[in-house]
Every structure is written in structure tokens, then in C-alpha cells.
């Protein structure tokens, strides 16, 4: 009983992760399935075929690559733009604060279908070619708000005395920002970037309207999934998940070595 009480939180966390990842587990499991028909609903038998043949569905790899490129670029740009806005909102007084906050909330409140269609109208009126750049523009647009709100949450409780101390010790504004502020709000910036990445890689409706003839991973899957997605779709999803985890593990291990070296 003592054990449970002490580790209650950890047990809860495990359950919570299980809840989050159970559908993923199912997806991973069915990537090893060997369906006879086009549907992947019933377990037929274990096979590595679809893993060996991961590139066997025409267009799937290109769709995944496109989605990753856009997600990466969009989250970087949106994070930069959003962090700047968050800094301005929390630290400075200026006219138009209310309007700015409104402008930040509105994109989140607008239903995707009308947002996507109206953005398309803009692009059509400007006679812009629909493709990579229009998808990217759209994704950056709807990610900014999420970054702003996330980073603001960190800035609101920020203890300015640390910055004041640094400046008292002779650091100018820029150095203070770089060496004191930024590291302290880094987790928030990372969280904002992660949310943007997730939003971008998962977006369907807005992308659908503004993609022209390009096909992103959600666009590819959305069409296939309802009529029977090939197991390679499951393989792709699993691969991304595993690669992302792997990168993080690598990151942790590298940190260890860096700290180890610094200690010596």
C-alpha cells in the first residue's frame, strides 16, 4: 500500500500514457497485419511484408515527406513569430493590446472549413499558384496563435528579478535576453513548437482547400482510410513515431555525454 501511495503519480502517468497511446498501439499492431482484402479491420496473420515493402504504395512516401517538410518549416516560423508576439504582449504596454489578443484568439475560433475556403479565395484573387507555398503559408497562419498562448503562459509568471540581477552585473539587454531569459522560457518555446508541429502534420481541412495538386500525408490517408487504408499507412505512422522518439533518446544520451565531459 505504501508502495502504491508513494508511486501513485507514476502509476497514474503510466495509465495516462497508455490511454494516449492505445490507438497508436493498435495502428502499430495492424502495420504487421496481413489482410486479404483491402480493409485492415481483422487480424489475419503476422507479416513483415508491409514493412519490407514500406514504399509499395505509390505517392505515400512523397506525401509523408511533404508533410514533414511543411511541419518543420511551419513550426519554426510560427514559433519565432509567436514568441515575439508573446514577449510584446506580456512585457510591454502598448496601444491595441485588446485588439491583438482578439486577433490571436480568432483563428482558433474560426471553423476550419470556412478558414480554408476563404484563404483559398485570397490566393485565387492574388492568382498565386496553389501548392507548397500556399500550404506553408496557411499552416504558419493557424499555428501562430497556439505558440502565443503557450509562451505567454510561461512569461506571465516570469521572475524579472533574475534579469535585473544580470543587468546589474553589467549585461546589456540583448545578452540578458540570450543568456537569462531565453533559456528560462525555452521549455515554453519548445512546447509551442511541438504543438505547431502536431497541428501542421495533422491538418486536413485547411490543407485540402489550399494544396492545389499537392498531397500531404493527411490528404493521402483521409481518402484511403475510409475505404480501406493499406497497412503501409500504419507503417508510415509508426516510423515517424519511432524516429521522433529515437531522436529524443539520442538527445538525452548526448546531453549525458556533454555533462559527463563538462564534469571532468
Amino acid at each position: 500500500m505504501r508502495f502504491v501511495r508513494r508511486h501513485l503519480l507514476t502509476l497514474y502517468a503510466i495509465l495516462a500514457f497508455a490511454y494516449l497511446l492505445v490507438p497508436i498501439g493498435l495502428v502499430i499492431l495492424f502495420s504487421f497485419n496481413n489482410p486479404t482484402g483491402r480493409y485492415n479491420y481483422t487480424w489475419r496473420g503476422f507479416t513483415l511484408d508491409h514493412w519490407r515493402n514500406w514504399d509499395g504504395v505509390p505517392g505515400l512516401r512523397e506525401a509523408m515527406t511533404l508533410s514533414l517538410e511543411i511541419a518543420l518549416l511551419a513550426s519554426i516560423v510560427a514559433t519565432v513569430l509567436g514568441t515575439l508576439i508573446a514577449l510584446a504582449l506580456v512585457r510591454y504596454g502598448f496601444r491595441g493590446r485588446g485588439g491583438t489578443n482578439l486577433l490571436i484568439f480568432l483563428p482558433m475560433a474560426t471553423p476550419e472549413i470556412v478558414l480554408g475556403a476563404s484563404l483559398l479565395t485570397l490566393f485565387l484573387n492574388l492568382k498565386v499558384f496553389l501548392g507548397f507555398s500556399t500550404i506553408l503559408i496557411a499552416h504558419i497562419m493557424f499555428c501562430i496563435s497556439y505558440v502565443v498562448v503557450t509562451v505567454k503562459a510561461r512569461l506571465v509568471g516570469f521572475d524579472r528579478s533574475l534579469e535585473e540581477a544580470a543587468m546589474d552585473l553589467g549585461a546589456n539587454e540583448w545578452v540578458t535576453f540570450r543568456k537569462v531569459t531565453l533559456p528560462l522560457i525555452a521549455p515554453a518555446i519548445l512546447a509551442g513548437a511541438l504543438l505547431s508541429f502536431a497541428l501542421s502534420i495533422d491538418d486536413f481541412v485547411i490543407t485540402y482547400f489550399n494544396a492545389g495538386s499537392e498531397v500531404t500525408f493527411p490528404l493521402f490517408v483521409w481518402g484511403a482510410a475510409r475505404v480501406g487504408a493499406p497497412p503501409q499507412v500504419n507503417v508510415m505512422g509508426t516510423l515517424i513515431f519511432v524516429v521522433a522518439l529515437g531522436l529524443m533518446v539520442l538527445n538525452v544520451l548526448l546531453q549525458r555525454t556533454r555533462e559527463g565531459r563538462a564534469a571532468t
Partner: protein, 382 residues
Amino acid sequence: MNDVLTRQELLRRAALGAGLLSVPGLLAACGGSSGGGGSKKELADTLVFSNWTYYMDKDKKTKKWRTLEAFKKKFGVNVKYTEDINSNSQFFGKIQGPLSRGQSIDRDLIVLTDNERFLATMIDKGWVEKLDKDALPNIQNLVDVQKSPPFDTHRDYSLPWASGMTGIAYNAKLTKPVTSMEQLLEDKTLKGKVSVLDNISDTLGLVMLSNGDDPSRVTDDTFKSAIGRVKTASDSGQLRQITGNDYTGPLANGDLAACVAWSGDIDQLQADNANLKWGIPKAGGMIWTDNVLIPKDGDAYTASVFMNYIYDPEVAAKLYGTIHYISPVKGSREALAKIDPETAKNELFFPTEQTLSQVHLIDPTFLKNQSYNEQWQAVLGA
């Protein structure tokens, strides 16, 4: 004069297996106008074709589209094939933006279904190019019943790609055979285990037939009684859900005992659950056809040459024998019987005259009626 010369050139070169016809002189000689409306008599390098999923035959070994590769070999045209159409309304919602502004959607061929309003709307609004009939001698192979549909009476703009039937599927392990909409909508033993489709033609068509009415001639009264039955079933909880094409999951795993379903899905579903059966209701079923269109600024000539290739019974036999949807090409069943007699006999993919006499087309003016559509959307909860 020039046109005839060009076509003979084309046939000659094709026979020699030469491939691409891209001599500038030919283009100048034929004097075709550029841009929308005019027909270029030169084959393009690429044909951009947007279609639904599972409508093209994939070669398991080479991972390429067999029919498209064969076409490329014969005519030197690379077909850029994307399966990005999964809903008529969604796809139309996307392309109506550029089309309504007179802009191109960068596609040469798209496919829309005749049991929703969007196909007719495309033609009515003039957002399509005319087929190049000179390049389409095989159009004579079009089955008679498709020769003059109400939305395109002279087949100037569209050609069928594939057809399917709408009937009732049921799980033999969970229920006795379900062969009528009465059972589906009113049999209490099936309560909460049945569903209908959110497609107005598929569902209301079947209900009208069950009422003894003709879905190809809809009146306010027949509409009212049909929609009334569905609404009652939905409100009372008889219907588990009203779904799009995502009924397949619940049907396969047993959440649904019976539902309105398409013929093309069922043989694939049976691989997952052998207890599933499909049939045309006693009162009659519906038939729908996915048609190809050439959107504005699409290359009508190359697209027509492509469709002409498809409408060759030998080519059609191989294509439809693999994708398992109903072929619109006369003689394709006979051609398939020579290489794959089993599939050629399958009623689902190559229905006999007898079967075809049991399925009905929807009234096209019904589709365009905004009030009917609004009422149906209200039943769906919107």
C-alpha cells in the same frame, strides 16, 4: 482536313510504337486555338488524372498502375494519377473556387458521381471541356443504357468510368437475411444495429422503391413519405448511425447487423468477415455511375485519347476485371471471360441484364432541388 491527317499520323506512329507526337509543325498545321474550348491535336507529355481510390489496377510486383503503364508504352504519355477524390461534395467544394473564377484546376480528368448534384452542376455551369469525339471512336462501345443520361444527353462532356449498385448488406451470423428496407427501418429486432447512407440518392432511392414509388420520377409526396420513414427510424433509435463510406468498419466488426451498402465494397469486406452478404432489395436497388469529366483548361485531346484507350474491350476487361467495379464498355465481359472466366461470371462486377433490370437511376431534377437537399441535411442533423 488537317484533323484527319493528324489522326492518321497518330495511328501510324502508334503502330510503329514511336510514341510522342510533339512536332511543332503539326500543332501549327491543325490551327487549333489555345486555351479552353479549343482542341489541341497534339498529345501532351503528361495527363493529370484525379480519381477515387481503388479505381485503377495496381500491379503487385512492379507497384505501378498497369493500365497507365500500358497506355504510356503505347502513346508515350505519362499519366500523373492521384487518388485525391474521396467525396463529391468535398472535391467540388475545393474546385469550385478556381473554376468559378475561370481559373484552371491543373487537371485533365476528374471523376464525379451521377447520384449527387455536382456532376450535373459542373456541366450546367460550363466548367468542363468537350470531349474530342474525333479521338474517341470507341465511344460506340459505351453500353446502351449509358448512351444518353439526363445530365449529358449527347455524351459531349462525360463518360462513365465505373458503376456500382446500392443494396443491403447484412451479417448472416447476427441476423436472418435482410432483404428489404422494411426490415432495415422498421424491424424492431434490428434496433440500433442498422444504418443507412448519408447519400440522399442511395438511401431515399431505396426507401422510395420500398414505398412502391419510382425514384427516377420524384414528387413532393413520394419525397415526403420516403424522408418521413427515415426520420422516424433515426429518431426512434432504430438507426444506429447515418454514415458515409465509414460503415465498412462497423459492418465488419459486427456493430452493424445490416446496412445500406455498395456492391463494390462487399467482396473486399468478405475477406475480413466471411459472414457478410449483400443483395439487391426485393423492391429494387439503385445504380450509380462515376463519370469522368475534363475540367476547364484540361487537355481535351489527350484526355479523349486516353478514354478511347480505356473503352477498348480488351483494355477494359483487364482493368475492370481487377478493380471489381461495373464496366461501361460493351464486350468487356466477353473479353474477360477468355482470360479470367471466374471474375467474368461474378454478378457484382459484371451484372446480367436481369440484375440490371432491378436497379434504378435517381431523378436528376430531384438532385438539384435545394429544398429537398436542405430537408435531407436536417435529417442528418445539420
